[in-house]
Symmetry: C2
Subunit: 380 residues, 2 copies
């Protein structure tokens, strides 16, 4: 039986037709009024997305590039930073900070959990000289949401601390307004809720962070925030930009802003809640104690290898992600950020049920789907 | 009168239909056998392109990113390097090397000229400890070709020197076989003769360069050659790759290899020669004393602002590039690398003639075109 493939991985996520159309076009030159106009439109839209008057800057790189820029532009060697390390991307903050000779307080957290507020107070009590708190808003590897509002409060209490947030799977999922929240550096990438192919990263910084720019003693060139800011304010870039991704970003941001940010956040909340409740109804255990609305991780049933289960699911057309490192073979992750709607959730839950049935797990077919439908019905 | 726009800038250059089609597709996930297969195919094709058994690595960045990687991965702080600085991109080598605390011998050359062999001998006589020679094979800002064969000879004579070549506008224009030539590090980018949008850079390194990798004391993370090599050998990447550009690269490399590398180099030579001779026939002075086959720069006629001339040319549909820095308003540059053929040259030369006519320059209409046709006729 012929079945269509459906992508439910937490990045890349499916592209809307408007984006595909924008990508499949002849190239234009970037040093033209035409490109500059598009670029400036993108900047205006990004300001709306982040509810700020400071437009973020773009890099031709994947999200890790903007994470690197957050370290190399806003810190000095030897600066002490606190890393909320609760998964694969928390580790990346730690590794980046160590690479560039920062002093790292590596607050390791069991995968699937979030930080403990008491522990944070303890750390800042012991190290009041902390210059930065590095955190994932949504830790994709464990589908976990970290409360960044509390960290913003903490950061403000410290003498000279920046809150640096990886929003790669939260911007476009939640309403992430860095100025309201008190974020100093916020990064995101193109291939998540911004519904583009990978290759474009975005970095926003606060006025407070700006003061650090001229003071940093860490070498950088391609990821120079000062060089890019200067150029991008005028609708250009220091180095050749990812032209077709920026043109496509103009389209995807239009879709996002047309939907409305509160509506977009609500849609993601409903999709996430429906996914979580449906999986629980099926009898599966969720991975995260503080689940993110961008993706949902769940353990495979006892005795079933999650990667084997994923293979069966793929035969039914659904490509979901597995676990990384020690979670490999134990969990699977379903994305619901970006170009997804509630009907997609119905489909993927149905797929999970049928795949479980196929591998012989005792499943009450339709119960998970019904649960998802019920939650959706209350939010139509 | 309606006129089509034609792009003749030295990057980005027009995309072939096969590439546009590959770009305008739904995304696929990168951690899949499907993507890995494409990636491994791309690696095989790149090996053929560079006639080597060592596949180069790819970064999701513009070409400058791979230039940065050449500095941060293969050198140590304080290493002395010789920069052949004959234009905007020579300056970039210098700035990158200085950013990462290398000791730079900045061999500044008048724009439009190439290096002097005697001068090189003098420099290496004075500084036998040179650890690297950094050069553009084709300096795009001045449309100048630098003889890299001679520099390879020189480099080999030195104790422990790497020849680092920016091939951004030479790979895919010339037959650039790094092992035959004696290049140690070769970088290129996607938006030139590889006929893709910007956002993908390529870095190849020799066995000799490889020995330096573990020894470098310069901080890097996103542009870590070791991390990427390890992953890419297995058909994956350390960080999220520019998926759709890699898929499109598979298409453009197919076009290149199907044409054949000697044929491709010959086509570029004929296009370049036709352009140069036609412009001279029209009465214009070429910018470069050692012209590259990737693009041709010429001075605007006396008393005519080159940028004003370019505006007239643009009204006729031809977008060519101007000069940078002190050459702004003085020169224009016509690209002929990648998805161009000899008939495109006829068109753009005709455009130059008509634009000159329009602004009142005394031009013998048809003479330049005829010259181009003659050269082409001898090479059909």
């Amino acid at each position: 039986m012929r079945i269509k493939e459906r992508l439910f991985t937490p990045g890349p996520v499916p592209l809307p037709p408007e984006v595909i159309k924008a990508l499949g076009q002849q190239i234009i030159h970037h040093r033209t009024p035409e490109f500059t106009q598009t670029f400036l439109e993108v900047r205006e839209k990004l300001k709306k997305l982040l509810k700020t008057e400071n437009a973020p800057i773009l890099f031709a790189s994947s999200g890790t590039g903007a994470m690197e820029a957050s370290i190399t532009n806003f810190f000095r060697k030897g600066d002490r930073v606190l890393v909320i390390n609760a998964g694969k991307f928390g580790q990346r903050w730690r590794d980046l900070a160590k690479t560039y000779e920062l002093k790292v307080i590596d607050y390791e957290i069991e995968w699937g959990k979030t930080y403990d507020k008491e522990k944070i107070l303890e750390i800042i009590g012991e190290f009041p000289d902390i210059k930065g708190i590095l955190v994932q808003h949504s830790e994709t590897s464990t589908t976990t949401l970290h409360d960044i509002n509390y960290l913003a409060e903490i950061s403000k209490k410290l003498d000279d601390c920046l809150l640096v947030v990886d929003g790669i799977t939260s911007v476009g999922v939640y309403e992430v307004y860095p100025e309201e929240i008190g974020i100093d550096v916020l990064v995101t990438g193109s291939q998540k809720a911004l519904m583009l192919p990978p290759g474009l990263s975005i970095l926003w910084y606060s006025d407070k962070a700006k003061e650090r720019l001229s003071n940093s003693d860490i070498g950088k060139y391609y990821f120079s925030v000062l060089a890019e800011t200067k150029k991008q304010e005028k609708g250009q870039t220091a180095y050749t930009p990812a032209i077709n991704l920026i043109i496509a970003l103009n389209e995807s941001l239009k879709l996002i802003l047309d939907e409305g940010l509160p509506q977009l956040a609500k849609r993601h909340e409903v999709m996430a809640q429906a996914t979580r409740e449906a999986l629980k109804e099926i009898g599966l255990k969720l991975l995260s104690e503080s689940p993110s609305n961008s993706a949902t991780g769940a353990y495979a049933p006892a005795g079933i290898d999650a990667d084997e289960f994923r293979k069966v699911l793929l035969k039914l057309g659904f490509r979901v992600a597995g676990g990384q490192d020690h979670l490999k073979g134990k969990i699977f992750r379903i994305a619901h950020m970006g170009y997804f709607d509630v009907m997609d959730i119905i489909q993927v839950i149905s797929g999970v049920e049928l795949a479980l049935f196929k591998i012989g797990f005792k499943v009450d077919i339709g119960q998970g789907v019904k649960k998802a439908q019920e939650i959706i019905s209350q939010n139509l």
